[in-house]
């Protein structure tokens, strides 16, 4: 007689809990030294369950299938010279930001979850974190493979990890993740699995990736959706861990609330870069930042998730109202920052075309024409001696001590002014872009005074390839240290644009 097949639930129990054991000659405290210092109290780890019921056997099977699908699509794209059929080479600047800014975070997430998989005392979440650690390594790999094809033809893809550790705008994602991995295991998992993956990655991996598809970039869409399908599992991990912690002990509630408050604003500020990518860097657009925010944050997170969490005594994140107020300003402020400092960036920017400005005005009827359009009209006239027939902000910006974004966020209640906040701490003044970042600093000033701020480091003389020979040599020496070559300045004076025109002169090279 054939043996009866195990059900999914039985398999899950045997392959996760069933493989755990009680230590006999080492104490649990010695095995899991980080489990208690954050103040989280756990009575019974067995109450935790993974709704995905993922076992190692199923994990390999489905992940291998996801990879096969991705590499088939990537190969097809390469063989077909797919890069020539993109909507426009301007599109790739959003992917440069992605590869330089996000892909190294995938790798950091791999490391972070390896740590959590080692240090959580419960076998259920340990198994889930272990899968996630491998997922994140896979995400790094598929993203690097997709980028390596573009790297053969376009600037900005050649030095992602080197740049991630040095370049000013990349300190935004880098400092975000460094903040998370230097926290304890419970804060880390609340920050990344819950606040970032359940709430915010949707904005990056769903509407933005749909935009990639719309602009003809199937490999990016595929790695995006392939990664986000793992993300569904990660979201579940985040949600289960948070609910589990809230149910285990009432003392956990205020701790979790504080982490939710902190990590909402940290992640939201980081995701503002995605707003600029969506609204300005996609030549063909699917959804505006504001529409994505309403759908994925206001509907799904506020109306959905946080109504569910009310019964545990959890309220929506502090400063959420500010994010809602900013939704018509955020992407414009951030693109303007990126645009102004493109002389020191490994991507190109440009003045939006007239029809693009019209789209922006239609999507942002209360803000674009009123507060932003004129800047680009002036930018056409206010020329600088630098390449590109337009304005750059010659100088270095003041950075927010927490999110590290230049302090250029419009005050929605007073839109002709930027928000500027400061705190005096042990005789020094620290500046912030928002009440959210200021509040985060005040919770842990001893952590954030240590921030590595790219502008300060330039002034301290820590960011030169060789000592500058004079004031005119300062920026060139910084760019050399960044390994920025022909990757900067306006798109319309770039190698990318020159090549793109050349490749499309003869349409026979395009049609395969």
């Amino acid at each position: 007689m054939a043996k009866k097949k195990l059900t999914l639930a039985q398999k899950y129990h045997i392959y996760t809990r069933g493989l755990d054991w009680e230590p006999t000659y080492v104490s649990k405290k010695d095995i899991y030294p980080y489990a208690e210092y954050e103040g989280i109290k756990i009575k019974d780890w067995n109450k935790w369950e993974d709704p995905f019921r993922m076992t190692v056997e199923a994990y390999w099977k489905y992940q291998a299938e996801k990879d096969r699908r991705f590499y088939a699509i990537l190969d097809g794209f390469i063989q077909n010279q797919g890069h020539l059929t993109l909507s426009d080479a301007r599109y790739l600047n959003s992917i440069k930001l992605f590869i330089q800014g996000v892909t190294p975070l995938e790798y950091m997430a791999h490391r972070g979850f390896a740590f959590v998989a080692r240090h959580l005392p419960g076998p259920g979440p340990r198994t889930a974190a272990f899968f996630q650690s491998m997922d994140e390594l896979r995400h790094t790999q598929i993203e690097v493979h997709a980028a390596s094809n573009f790297n053969k033809y376009y600037d900005g893809f050649h030095s992602m990890t080197h740049m991630h550790d040095r370049v000013w705008y990349l300190s935004v994602p880098k400092s975000y993740f460094d903040d998370a991995v230097t926290a304890g295991p419970f804060e880390y998992i609340t920050a990344i699995s819950f606040s970032f993956e359940y709430a915010l990655t949707n904005l990056l991996f769903v509407p933005f990736m749909s935009g990639a598809a719309y602009n003809g970039d199937t490999p990016t869409m595929t790695f995006g959706f392939s990664a986000q399908s793992d993300e569904s599992r990660h979201m579940t991990l985040g949600l289960q861990v948070v609910k589990f912690l809230l149910e285990q002990h009432e003392d956990n509630v205020p701790i979790i609330q504080r982490w939710i408050d902190k990590w909402w604003w940290r992640g939201y500020r980081l995701t503002s870069l995605v707003g600029a990518m969506m609204d300005y860097m996609l030549p063909k657009r699917v959804m505006s930042w504001k529409e994505s925010f309403e759908l994925y944050i206001e509907d799904q997170i506020l109306e959905g998730l946080f109504r569910d969490l009310e019964r545990y005594g959890i309220r929506p994140p502090l400063h959420m109202n500010q994010s809602i107020k900013e939704k018509e300003f955020l992407s414009h402020d951030v693109y303007w920052i990126l645009f102004s400092f493109t002389f020191a960036a490994a991507f190109h920017s440009w003045i939006p075309k007239e029809e693009e400005m019209e789209w922006l005005a239609e999507k942002y009827p209360r803000t674009f024409n009123q507060y932003y359009r004129w800047r680009y009209e002036k930018a056409k006239e206010a020329k600088t001696p630098l390449p590109g027939d337009r304005f750059y902000y010659i100088g270095l910006p003041q950075l927010c001590q927490v999110c590290q974004i230049p302090m250029g966020f419009t005050n929605p209640d007073d839109p002709n002014n930027f928000v500027q906040r400061y705190v005096e701490y042990e005789g020094e003044i620290y500046h912030f872009c928002s009440d959210g970042c200021k509040w985060i600093f005040e919770q842990e000033p001893e952590k954030y005074v240590q921030a590595w701020l790219p502008v300060h480091e330039i002034y301290k003389g820590n960011c030169f390839a060789e000592p500058p020979k004079g004031p005119d040599d300062v920026v060139p020496q910084v760019l050399k240290w960044y390994n920025i070559q022909t990757d900067n300045f306006d798109y319309f004076v770039s190698e990318d644009y020159k090549n793109w025109k050349e490749w499309h002169k003869d349409m026979a090279t395009v049609v395969v």
Binding site: E49, R53, E65, V206, A213
Partner: protein
């Protein structure tokens, strides 16, 4: 308490890949979940329901024309809103307000 003002709607959702398999899963969802709404975007479908979404193995198999393991749902899902309230060999149930 910070009161957060939204005039938005509450629903559960799954975002599905616009592929052959994704399409079959979508058909099964439509059949088993009256009142489902679909928003179409480049590359994906957003499937929404005001209360819950159930995905049944049997119905998916009838559209696929082959046997289908509920864990294969991992290959078509992009994202979701809600909780996986149940996930076993026969069905997957997504809804809010579930307890562990």
């Amino acid at each position: 308490m910070t009161a957060v003002e939204t005039k938005r709607e509450r629903f559960v959702a799954v975002d599905l890949q616009k592929t052959e398999e994704g399409y079959n899963v979508l058909q099964a969802i439509l059949k088993d979940n009256p009142g489902t709404r679909i928003d179409e975007f480049p590359g994906y479908y957003k499937v929404k329901h005001p209360e819950k979404l159930i995905i049944k193995r049997e119905t998916v198999e009838s559209f696929m024309g082959r046997s289908w393991d509920t864990q294969e749902f991992n290959l078509v899902i992009i994202s979701y809103a809600g909780n996986f309230a149940e996930w076993d060999d026969e069905k997957i149930l997504i809804q809010w307000d579930t307890h562990m």
